[in-house]
């Protein structure tokens, strides 16, 4: 009897394997557009009519986004949201290359970055208000150690090397700190918290400006050779947790979850303020004429204002190629800036003030389909 050779059997075997793995899995895998390859929250697509929204961006907002997206998915079973907190610069890059549906960055895109976006104009929506803590691990030190800009600058420049240095004793009022080497930790990747601290030090310490040679803050830490560099908030937090004598900047959402001891920083009014949802909220309330080009709320005035706070900006293309996705994005982020803000305080963030909510709403209504139809209405 004439029989075929081995190849068709092999092909049949391969086809069987493919079929066995489940056609629904494959279609969702191949059809899913994406988020990036770092930590995220995901839910399997409920049915083939569901929408999957993929985003990537700031690491600092991840705890907030995870919670809010999770709640949103429970309310809207047909929507799946994936977020990859690989860092603000990754979010910007992914949006520029149009490999994600939304991005998020602690520092809004500059006009040159927007010009490089391949999908046209980018809408930047402020969605959350957070802060940056200076967390330290010093056995025997009290919580809420008082520190100011010039002292921090000296620490991160490497000129103060021990915790019992008289300069620290002078500003903090604590003289019994141990004779322990200071290990300053910075972000090895570019980061919003790094920008915040850099801006704070530029505003408060002339020595810092002289040392880094510029008065413009940067998301890349300007002195990478001093101290230790770690990836993402999680890397910095892990290092601080395991190394006695370390001090570093961590998004307050992570710092509060890790129950770190955080420094009380000297604000513009001269008071030493610890980070909390309330003091961060005060900084946000000071934001006037907030826009993507005028976004800094570092070192705002006010007796109890925490000096290291920032808004987190979601990046969306104004012209959405997929109208259904565009509408879903509008609905999702409207939820985030309204109902979702309830999740802010318990997680170490602060609800956005009313004027910022207005800005967010005014930006979301600008979403358009490829035919020019408005995709989101209030």
């Amino acid at each position: 009897m004439k029989r075929r050779s081995i190849a068709p059997a092999g092909l049949v075997l391969a086809a069987a394997l493919v079929a066995a793995s489940g056609s629904s899995w494959l279609s969702s895998a191949a059809g899913a557009a994406s988020a990036h390859s770092n930590a995220a929250v995901v839910k399997k697509a409920a049915a083939s009519a569901s929408t999957t929204l993929n985003g990537a961006g700031a690491n600092s907002i991840a705890p907030f986004f995870e919670k809010v997206f999770y709640n949103y998915e429970h309310l809207h079973s047909k929507v799946t949201v994936n977020y990859s907190p690989a860092g603000s610069s990754v979010g910007v890059k992914d949006i520029q290359q149009n490999t994600v549906d939304f991005g998020d960055s602690e520092i809004p895109m500059s006009s040159s970055a927007q010009a490089a976006a391949s999908g046209g104009a980018v809408l930047q929506v402020p969605v959350e208000l957070g802060g940056v803590a200076l967390s330290y691990n010093v056995p025997g030190a009290p919580k809420g150690l008082h520190l100011d800009g010039p002292t921090l600058a000296a620490i991160f420049e490497g000129t103060i090397t021990k915790w019992n240095d008289p300069r620290i004793a002078k500003v903090s009022g604590v003289s019994h700190l141990p004779n322990l080497a200071i290990v300053p930790v910075h972000r090895a990747d570019s980061s919003g918290p790094g920008w915040d601290l850099d801006q704070y030090l530029i505003s408060t310490s002339t020595g810092w400006v002289k040392k880094i040679g510029t008065s413009k803050a940067s998301t890349s830490w300007p002195l990478p050779d001093i101290g230790e560099g770690e990836q993402l908030n999680t890397g910095v937090a892990t290092f601080i947790k395991s190394t006695a004598g370390s001090i570093g900047y961590v998004s307050f959402g992570y710092a509060s979850k890790a129950k770190f001891a955080n420094a009380a920083l000297k604000n513009k009014a001269g008071a030493f303020v610890s980070p909390s949802s309330y003091t961060i909220g005060l900084a946000g309330a000071r934001a006037s004429n907030l826009s993507a080009s005028h976004f800094s709320i570092i070192d705002e005035p006010g007796a109890s204002t925490y000096p290291l706070a920032n808004f987190s900006w979601t990046l969306l293309y104004k012209k959405q190629a997929n109208a259904a996705k565009g509408a879903a994005l509008g609905a999702l982020f409207y939820y985030v800036v309204t109902t979702g803000q309830k999740q802010a305080s318990p997680l170490g963030y602060s609800p956005i003030p009313a004027n910022v909510l207005k800005l967010a709403e005014n930006t979301l209504v600008k979403l358009r389909s490829s035919t020019g139809k408005q995709l989101f209405k209030l």
């Binding site: 050779s5 990036h36 860092g87 080497a181 290990v183 230790e228 560099g229 395991s242 190394t243």
Partner: protein
């Protein structure tokens, strides 16, 4: 990591050379003669050539893609990318020099640990332990080969690193003479820890392949030595080990190739500072760890091209080492190792 022990084919059969091994085809005739005698159907021919073509396309495509995507970085920095400069993407500095140093350093230290220990184990297992013990022992070492690299990295980061920071590294600093290379603050993640992780991961390679090489030395040679009055150890040292020399060299070379390319576990424990480490306890960076950490962030265009250029350098290094290893394997002594590499790394 994969199972590197005996070939899945039983040794009794695998040991005898078949005509195929000499490259003459199933019938032992020259290929053209055989083709005339037993032609194959067009479909079968398409299947075979299709498969070979796909394979060649993948292999060539891999090299071509890496080289072409990295060309932008090479034209930007020149050929000195390979050995000079520092890696500082934000400052626009792209050069692989320090990373190459880190890669070579971690591999060397790992080999310094693995070669003595691995040879010791393989000699023990093949020569010194009783038969009932040798089997389970070598199986358990091979099991280490099956442990995924991420699990080794996880354990090294969460269990080994704190132990290193508190006990091992201060102890090493206190060593006389040698202590000089172990100075400096020790937080755990360091070149030393990464080298130890690499050693753990490449040990099964060395043990399994050396053991095959050692057991491949013919019994007749051993018996001849014993007849001349050699003690057990002298038989091992003067007859077995030299006989297995090229197989052991092949094993070590393949282990080096593996160590050069390991990136995930190293990225977790090396501390990721792309500067030439001043001590083994300092953090460092290798080509692999830099690629892991930098790729996602790299700005499109020159940044991504620079990271791919790092991959090109790594590819060059590993291919060179692997080619040398393969050539060693194909020598007479190494041939016994060839069959053991059936599913090997």
């Amino acid at each position: 990591m994969t199972d590197l022990g005996a070939s899945p084919v039983p040794e009794a059969i695998a040991g005898s050379p078949t005509p195929g091994e000499t490259g003459d085809g199933p019938t032992g005739l020259r290929p053209w003669r055989k083709r005339r005698l037993f032609p194959s159907s067009p479909f079968y021919a398409v299947v075979r050539w299709g498969g070979a073509g796909l394979f060649a396309a993948v292999a060539i495509g891999l090299v071509v893609t890496i080289v072409s995507q990295s060309s932008q970085a090479f034209t930007h920095s020149g050929i000195s990318f390979l050995w000079s400069g520092t890696w500082n993407p934000d400052a626009g500095e792209f050069a692989a020099g320090t990373l190459v140093v880190g890669t070579v350093l971690t591999t060397l230290v790992a080999m310094a640990i693995v070669v003595p220990v691995g040879l010791g184990i393989s000699v023990s297992v093949s020569e010194l332990t009783p038969r009932w013990l040798a089997g389970p022992l070598s199986t358990s070492i091979e099991f280490l080969a099956a442990v995924p690299s991420i699990v080794v990295g996880l354990w090294a980061l969460l269990v080994l690193s704190p132990v290193f920071a508190t006990d091992v590294e201060p102890a090493l600093e206190g060593l006389p003479v040698l202590g000089r290379i172990f100075h400096g603050p020790a937080y755990g993640p360091s070149v030393l820890l990464a080298s130890v992780v690499l050693a753990i991961m490449t040990l099964p390679t060395v043990v399994a392949l050396s053991r095959t090489a050692l057991s491949g030395v013919p019994m007749a040679d051993r018996e001849a030595a014993m007849a001349l009055g050699a003690t057990h150890w002298q038989v091992v040292r003067r007859t077995v080990l030299p006989g297995a020399r090229s197989g052991i060299a092949a094993a070590i070379t393949l282990a080096i190739g593996r160590a050069l390319g390991e990136s995930i576990a190293v990225a977790l424990v090396i501390g990721n500072r792309p500067a030439i480490p001043h001590s083994l306890l300092a953090p460092g960076a290798t080509l692999g760890s830099a690629i892991v950490n930098q790729f996602a962030e790299a700005s499109p265009g020159l940044g991504t091209s620079a990271v791919i250029a790092l991959a090109a350098v790594l590819l060059l290094l590993t291919v060179l080492v692997n080619v040398v290893g393969q050539l060693l394997v194909r020598t007479r002594g190494g041939r016994r190792v060839l069959s053991a590499r059936g599913a090997a790394t």
